[in-house]
């Protein structure tokens, strides 16, 4: 059973990435163009037409096309956020763990500080200051997530730092930078990858909440999160506007979590209690 779900999840993720990359070229409708007269049409099996299999949204744009395009946007947001938050967090955490001493204490205080600030309010303000844009979303979500990488990187670095091969490298006179690059990073990478996979869901759902508050990915771009937010006044009347992107989010998050959990088990079961 376990193997089956893992494989299914992998397939789903592969599908997600493929859809994100190639999907937009394969759908027949333009996700950005709608026809006012065709707005809020139900999906095929609920009274709609074959023209719009999954129905249309509140401006008459094809849902299927938008979900496919949304895959690309959501994937891009995830990748960029994780790259940024991941790099900064890893850098700070690794440095902190490796150097130790006062630098460690200061940097970890910084992480604690970051965790005790209500970042969502900062996010709202930043959004208010410069309006919703791709750049702002990325910045804001990265602000929320970087500290998790820092903590994990530091913990892992501390663990790896005292391993034999690191000692060996040091006694053979390798410079610190080389040691970090060649020996530490590759060994802490798996744990960080796990953190990254588990954050995918958080990123997508956070983007949805930010869209709800008006500071998400700007229209008419169809990120799954903003699509769910757009449909909130139609939850009962035109349920498909929110539901389908919601299901897409659900599937991707579940798949990512299954894979992430399996990776955790594979790499270092001791980590299970340390990621949430």
């Amino acid at each position: 059973m376990q193997k089956f779900t893992f494989r299914a999840a992998l397939v789903l993720l592969a599908l997600f990435v493929l859809t994100a990359v190639f999907g937009p070229y394969l759908v027949e409708h333009d996700p950005l163009k709608g026809s006012l007269r065709a707005r809020l049409e139900p999906p095929l099996w609920a009274g709609g037409s074959a023209e719009h299999l999954l129905g249309t949204d509140r401006l008459g744009r094809d849902m299927l096309a938008r979900i496919v395009s949304g895959a690309r946007i959501s994937l891009t947001v995830c990748v960029v956020v994780i790259a940024i938050a991941g790099s900064i967090g890893t850098a700070i955490g690794t440095l902190s763990g490796y150097v130790g001493g006062w630098l460690d204490r200061i940097l970890m205080r910084l992480v604690d500080l970051a965790l005790s600030l209500p970042v969502i309010l900062l996010a709202l303000l930043i959004g208010a200051v410069s309006g919703p844009s791709f750049g702002n979303i990325v910045l804001v979500i990265s602000l929320v997530l970087w500290s998790q990488y820092a903590r994990m990187a530091r913990g892992e670095t501390l663990r790896v730092k005292n391993e034999d091969y690191v000692d060996l490298a040091r006694t053979s006179g390798l410079g610190h930078v080389r040691i970090i690059a060649r020996h530490i990073l590759p060994n802490i990478a798996p744990a960080l990858i796990v953190v990254a996979t588990l954050q995918v869901g958080v990123v997508i759902v956070l983007e949805a909440s930010l869209s709800f508050l008006g500071v998400g990915v700007p229209p008419p771009n169809p990120s799954w999160g903003s699509m769910v937010a757009d449909g909130r006044s139609y939850v009962v009347t035109a349920w498909w506007v929110s539901l389908f992107p919601g299901i897409a989010i659900l599937l991707v998050v579940m798949a990512v979590n299954i894979v992430g959990d399996a990776l955790t088990d594979r790499i270092n079961p001791a980590l299970r209690g340390r990621t949430a």
Partner: protein, 307 residues
């Protein structure tokens, strides 16, 4: 111990100062409340008059310092967008609603999450385990506002079991707390399950079983207490998630809390209130983290030197 507390206090002050400066600068970068307060037929004279009245014509550093100075005496200024109400009073009036909701949500999350995590760990691999994990995953992938709206329609409108929104009776707490706690519920469930599995496989437990202790004691007394430690570790983060989710939940459920106040004050550029809300929320966070740290120390003094 005293060093620790003093250290924390210093950090707390630093955090508050940093946050207040950040918010101060950010909020002023994008224009002022004058825009909203002026009538459409206003002229340049009217605008200048209003700016002078709101003391927005003074240089930034002067505004910030006077804010700080006043804050130390407990005067956080007057709301610009809500008559001339005292900003601190406005915020403190709304704080109980948010805190009580967060407490209820946290309670629900912990109780349900721990229960589910334990059950899943004990029945590992079974249908129950799978079911629990699916529910947990669902919780983590559903945006809170959507869940809230759906709950309102199904439970309050369709079935009529609970009020749709608003504040007042215990019944009003149910749906908002459920919505607020669902995301962290998933996290708690997974954490507890993982730690329980670890604990159940440990030497310590094997020893207890060999000793012949009843299974229930083994599970509840020994395994569970160990697996609660990671939950405590993340308690601060959970509380933070609750508060950040508060803006959305309070909007959907018309809950008169500070999350909604923060959002509205940002939208109306009500500087004094923005500052005050952020500082109060930051202070709450810091207090919560501090409590969690103390709890942590109490549970396991060994942890003091770790991460």
């Amino acid at each position: 111990m005293t060093r620790l507390i003093l250290g924390r206090l210093a950090e707390a002050l630093a955090a508050l100062l940093l946050m207040s400066l950040a918010i101060f600068l950010l909020s002023r970068v994008t224009g002022d409340p004058v825009a909203l307060l002026l009538g459409d037929g206003a002229t340049a004279e009217d605008r200048d008059l209003l700016i002078a009245q709101l003391r927005l014509d003074r240089p930034l550093w002067e505004q910030y310092l006077s804010f700080l100075g006043n804050a130390l005496t407990g005067d956080f200024g007057q709301s610009v967008a809500a008559g001339r109400r005292d900003a601190l009073e406005l915020v403190l009036d709304r704080l109980p609603a948010s805190l009580s909701l967060a407490a209820v949500a946290l309670g629900f999350t912990l109780v349900t999450g721990i229960a589910m995590g334990v059950v899943a760990a004990i029945t590992r691999g079974s249908a129950v385990d799978v079911f629990v994990r699916i529910v947990a995953l669902l919780g983590q992938s559903v945006p809170a506002f959507w869940l809230g709206i759906v709950l309102i329609y199904v439970v309050a409108v369709h079935w009529g079991w609970l009020p749709t929104s608003g504040y007042g009776t215990p019944a009003h707490y149910v749906l908002p707390a459920l919505t607020m706690g669902t995301f962290t519920l998933a996290a708690v469930t997974r954490l507890v399950r993982a730690s329980m599995l670890d604990a159940l496989g440990s030497e310590y437990i094997k020893l207890a079983r060999i000793k012949g202790l009843p299974e229930a004691t083994v599970i509840l007394k020994h395994a569970l207490s160990n697996s609660l430690i990671p939950v405590v570790t993340f308690m601060g983060a959970f509380f933070a998630t609750m508060i950040t989710g508060a803006v959305v939940v309070e909007t959907v459920f018309a809950w008169p809390g500070i999350g909604r106040l923060a959002y509205e004050s940002i939208v109306s550029r009500d500087f004094p209130v923005i500052q005050t809300v952020v500082l109060v929320i930051t202070a709450c966070f810091i207090l919560a983290n501090f409590c969690v740290d103390m709890l942590y120390l109490a549970i396991d003094p060994r942890m003091r030197d770790r991460g």
